[in-house]
Symmetry: C2
Subunit: 132 residues, 2 copies
């Protein structure tokens, strides 16, 4: 096994990453250019499928493609465990900030919306708040 017998479509089905996205990852150097058939179609093996899964998992967890690039060791060298931890905790910090920002937003908006009469006039308390 681990032969190059996966077409891009099969790889896409297997990993849940769209064909265009796979090609995009190749273009930006996140996935290596795989071997091709005589007619020029890409062929992937198990290792490349694993790598694509890694990227997908990273994206699901909200890492940027640059983060993933670093985690994969594509920048200069394989990152140490400490570096991986650093990238991850910076990312978690960002997520926490985003959550607290969104919570603030939600509170503000809920308050604003409460003042609304919901009737059919254009005389709206929400709009007034936005204007002040």
């Amino acid at each position: 096994m681990d032969q190059f017998n996966l077409t891009i479509g099969k790889l896409s089905d297997q990993t849940g990453v769209k064909i265009e996205t796979i090609r995009y990852y190749e273009k930006i150097g996140l996935m290596p250019a795989p071997p091709r058939t005589e007619s020029g179609r890409r062929l992937y093996d198990g290792a490349l499928a694993d790598r694509l899964c890694f990227i997908r998992r990273g994206r699901e967890l909200g890492f940027s493609l640059d983060d993933i690039r670093a985690l994969l060791g594509l920048e200069d060298r394989k990152p140490t465990c400490a570096e991986v931890f650093e990238i991850t905790s910076t990312h978690v910090e960002m997520i926490r900030t985003k959550i607290s920002d969104l919570k603030k937003l939600e509170r503000t908006l809920s308050t604003v919306a409460k003042g609304c009469s919901r009737n059919r006039t254009p005389d709206c308390a929400i709009i007034k708040t936005l204007f002040s």
Copy 2:
């Protein structure tokens, strides 16, 4: 007052919206094209400043430019209070979804990071999790 005596730079300082962004809003029809000096420089008045503040407030609250367009009544007509409420509560719903997604992410990532030894080897538990 309410004369057209604000240069774009002053408007920018007053509202905290960058000059390029103001011009961008004009280009996409969110701000009207203001009168100009003889040499072609834009001049704004108080009403336009208010409108720009409205847009900025809307953005701060996370509304999309399309939402703001609708709130301003640029689509077809001024929205009724009920329509404004609808836009707002849809938006709040989106924010709540985002918050819960991010919380899930945060929990997962914190768990993943806990397995990390933080040492100087490349043998990393975080990476392993991402690969599985």
